[in-house]
Structure formats: C-alpha cells, structure tokens
Amino acid sequence: MSNEVIIQTNELTKFYGKSRGIENLTLEISKGEIFGLLGPNGAGKTTTIRVLLDLIRKTSGEAKIFNLDVHLDSVAIRQRLAYLPGELGLFQEKSARRNIEYLLGLYQNHIPNRRVEELAEVFGLELDRKVKELSKGNKQKIGIILALAPEVELLILDEPTSGLDPLITAEFYNILHKQQEVTGSTVLLSSHLLSEVEKVAHRVGIIREGTIVEVATIQQLKHMAMKEIKVEFESAKSLKEFSNKLPGEKIEKVILNDTHASFLVSREELPKILNLLSEAEIVDTDITSPALEDIFLKYYQISTSQKHEFKKKREVES
C-alpha cells in the first residue's frame, strides 16, 4: 500500500428528492488497498459507488478518484477502473462471450481474449451459451470476468459474490487477492457480509444511515470488541456474591441459570474481572471473542449520539 489516495470523498451527500442516499460521507482509500464498505441494505453503499461512477450526481460535497473529479473527468476515470454492480444486468439474448466482448470493447485499450478464456475456465463458465439460459450464479460469473479481465488500477465491486456457491466464492477471492498482489490495484468492495470482507480487506468502513460511522482494520475492530466470559460457579450463592462485586454499569451480564452466567467485558475491564474470578468459587470458565459479525451488528444498535461520542473518543485516543 502507498500513501497515494485513490478514492477521496469529502462531506459527500446525495439526496433523492427528500429521501437520504448518503450524507456527509467522508472517506479516503489508498493505492493498493482492499477496502471493504460494509452496511445493511439501504445504508448507502450502492449510492456511494454510483456517485463515484458518475451514474448519479451528488447533491453536495466532493468526490475524487485518481485525484480527478468524478463528474468532470468521469471518462478518464472509468478507463482506469472496472465495476461489478450489485444487480447485474446483462443482454439476455446474447451469449456470455458476446456480452463480454461488447462491454470490454468499450475500453480504449484492447483486452486480450486469452484472459477472458482463462477466467471462464477457472470459474467453469460456458461462454457460448445465451445469458438467458444461465443460472444466477453463472450470470454473476460473467460480471466477475468483466471486472477481473481488464488490468485496471481500481476495482469497484458491489456485492460481488451474490448468487455464487461457496467454492466459487472462495476461488473469486483467491483470484482477487492474487491479482491485487501482482498488479497493486486498489479494490473497493461493498458487502453486507463481514465474514466475506474480513478475508480480503485491509480496512473496512462501516456505513450506517448514509454516513461512515467507523473506519478501521479488521484487527482494530476485533480489538474494540467486548470479550465474552462464560462462568460456571460452584453454587448459586457464589454466583450472587460475584455478581454483587461487579461494576454494574460497565459490564453486561446475563444469568443463564443458578450456577451459570455470561458477561460481556471490554478489554480495559478484563484484568479486573479476571482478578475477581480468581477469588470466586468457580468450576469452569471460557473467554471468547465474539464473531466479527456481532461487532458489525453492534454498530447498528447504538444510537447516533453514541456514535458521535464514540468517534470523538477514538479521535482523542488516536
């Protein structure tokens, strides 16, 4: 990764009439980075991508790719990128090959057919069948070939593995990873599945209600996560005694039954809890990090004011 910024948005806002698409979205993606844009449906991922591609026009703010304005220099930008839309539309009456030839033919430079054949072989796609005869997964493979065949500096992938089986999904990420390592291209990958993004992304941006609420590496996200401690006490009395000693407002506790309890603890509070546990009468204990998916979901449960407080705190810390 280099310090050169490939995608830059500043206070980017898009309203569809009165309804919000994205609002004050600020983002920077560096050269060679795989950036995951995460958020549920309607969060603003696709709107962000469509503004970047000049398919829709911003209401206010600034958006640049390769330090060029996404609207004024859109053709020059699009010559250097490939895009896989979330809802892939292909020419149904044409064969997969004809679709690919036509769409890749719109690039100013020639894209070798050999590359298309190679990718089709890897993904097991029959190029000469009509698109309308293909399954959803096979149609998606055409989109993937269209994105991976040209050697471009930036790949924008909107829900790229939708409809693909796990094996092909794994193969796709494998090829993406290899290609990215060889070419040093930048990748903007949008998804609502953190489990997919975490395998390849260097950083993720979590988008909520049209605004980026967090940008962090996967490790940072994991670090920010609460630990879950499951404890089996000797008796109900020891559970009660332990429970009374806990700093209530900082720890979320769930009493499962008379002797079993579960606690969600921040990293800062973890040593204190372990100390208390060492003094308690316990039979067994288990400390786990929650799945990244749970962390992601947590961002969608906190209120907007909490979000701003959280961001401020993170800024002070950094």
């Binding site: 839309p85 892939l88 769409l103 719109l106």
Partner: protein, 273 residues
C-alpha cells in the same frame, strides 16, 4: 469514436432481422399497390373524387393526385407510413434507452469509458440507420416495381423525385422516433414513453390532417404538426421543389432540436437503480 461505432454495430446486429422484415413487408405492400395501379382506370377514380365535398378533396390533396399513378401510390403507401412503420419505430425508440435501465444493462455500459453523449448518440444514430435502411429496402422494391410497370413507365420514371421523397420520409419518421426518444430520456420508462409517443403521433396526425374541418380561427394549429410538413404526393406529382425545401428545413430542424434536447436532458439525468 471506436466505442460509438461498437455500440451502433451492436444495436444493428440485434435488430437486423426486424429491419429486413419490416422493410421487406412494406416494400411488398408497395409493390402490390403498384401492381394494383396497373389495372386501374385512374380517370374513373378522378371522376369519383370530383364528386366528393371540396374539404375532403383538400384533405387528400387535389383530384390530380388521384389520377396520377405516383399520387395514388403515395396516398396508399407514404401517407400511411406513420402507421406501417411509424408505430413500430416509436415503440423501438421508446425502449432503446429505458429498457437498458429497466434491465439494468446501463450500469455496466456506463461504467465503461463512454460519455453519455456517446451512449445516447449511438442509439439515436442507430435509429436513423434503422429508418434509413428500412425505408431504403422499401423504396428499392418500389423502384423495381415501377420499372416493370407500364403505367409508371408511361408516366415517366421519376426516380430523382422518389429519392427526394425518400429523404423526407426518413426525416418524418425520424421526428416521430425522436419524440419517443425525448420522452424516454425524460421518464426513463418504456411504457410511459411509448404511450406518450403514440399520443403525440395521433395528436399530430389529427392536427396536421384534419385542420380543414376546424374553425378557421384555430386552423393555425396545423403548423405545430409534423404531418403538415409531410407532403410526398406534392413532390412526386407536382414536383413541388420549394415545398420540398420548406419541409426539409422544418423536419430537419425539428429532428435536430429533439436530438439536442434528448442529449442535454440525458446528460443531467441520474441513472436510477
């Protein structure tokens, strides 16, 4: 320019059979009319027409047009070209852009290094190529038919007039297509654009052809109809060159205006998801 050519070629390949079928069918219909004229007593037709009310005669042109083989052919074929070819062309023009939006193929195409002018311009160019080629097939069949027809040979083979008429027919159908294209760029929806395109077509037909039945004070509305500037029988029968030039300028300008408006509107449009 390369992208432009690729796009035009792509649309052309997709519609090549329809083009041949449409041009061929209208051409054969035209051939049938030529064949029919061969056995007709046009002087007797003129006698019948002279018995009609003057407004009705004016509606068709004049009595001389009926008694002339070119005039009769023009009334049967060219005067109804809006019906034979126009409605299909309006349908095609309304869907050429909006179908790409409805089927979401536009996202992939416009994410490639192609300008919006280029994208829409290639569709418009294709429409004109389609109209030119369809009418070309029809006129070639017609000219072939006239070359073998004794009545047309007797009248004289005015192929120069026919070519001038051909230009006007292309421009006339072009206007109908460009109205639908304009609606398509405004609404980005096939059904709405198609409906409006057909409504405008019939409205203009009504205003351009039936104005003589209206009150004299409002007869001026005929000038807003493209049908008023489409007078193939006059060019063919009377060789009315000044009228041809007027119609050429008006239809050409309306085409140009509609193309520019479509391009400018599309340039500013958000592509809906």
């Amino acid at each position: 320019m390369r992208q432009f050519t690729i796009s035009v070629k792509e649309y052309f390949l997709a519609k090549k059979y329809i083009l041949l079928i449409l041009g061929g069918i209208i051409g054969l219909l035209s051939y049938f009319i030529i064949y029919m004229v061969e056995d007709m007593n046009l002087d007797a037709v003129q006698d019948i027409i002279e018995a009609w009310p003057p407004e009705m005669v004016e509606f068709f042109g004049d009595t001389e047009i009926f008694s002339n083989p070119y005039g009769f052919w023009s009334l049967e074929i060219l005067a109804f070209m809006w019906l034979y070819a126009g409605i299909y062309i309006v349908y095609m023009a309304s869907g050429l852009l909006s179908q790409e939006i409805e089927e979401k193929t536009i996202d992939l195409t416009l994410s490639k290094p192609i300008t919006r002018y280029n994208f829409l311009g290639s569709k418009i160019t294709f429409l004109y190529i389609f109209i030119t080629a369809t009418m070309g097939i029809c006129f070639l069949i017609t000219m072939g038919g006239m070359s073998f027809s004794s009545i047309f040979k007797e009248e004289g083979l005015f192929f120069d007039r026919l070519w001038l008429t051909y230009i006007i027919v292309v421009l006339f159908l072009g206007v109908l297509a460009m109205f639908a294209k304009l609606f398509s760029t405004i609404f980005l929806a096939t059904r709405k654009s198609m409906a409006l395109g057909v409504v405008v077509l019939f409205l203009m037909f009504f205003l351009g052809e039936f104005y003589i039945y209206m009150d004299e004070a409002v007869q001026g509305v005929k000038y807003i109809s493209v049908f008023f500037y489409f007078n193939p029988a006059e060019y063919l029968v009377h060789s009315d060159f000044p009228l041809f030039i007027r119609d050429l300028i008006v239809l050409g300008s309306v085409n140009a205006g509609l193309i520019i408006a479509s391009l400018l509107i599309f340039k500013r449009k958000d592509i809906p998801i």
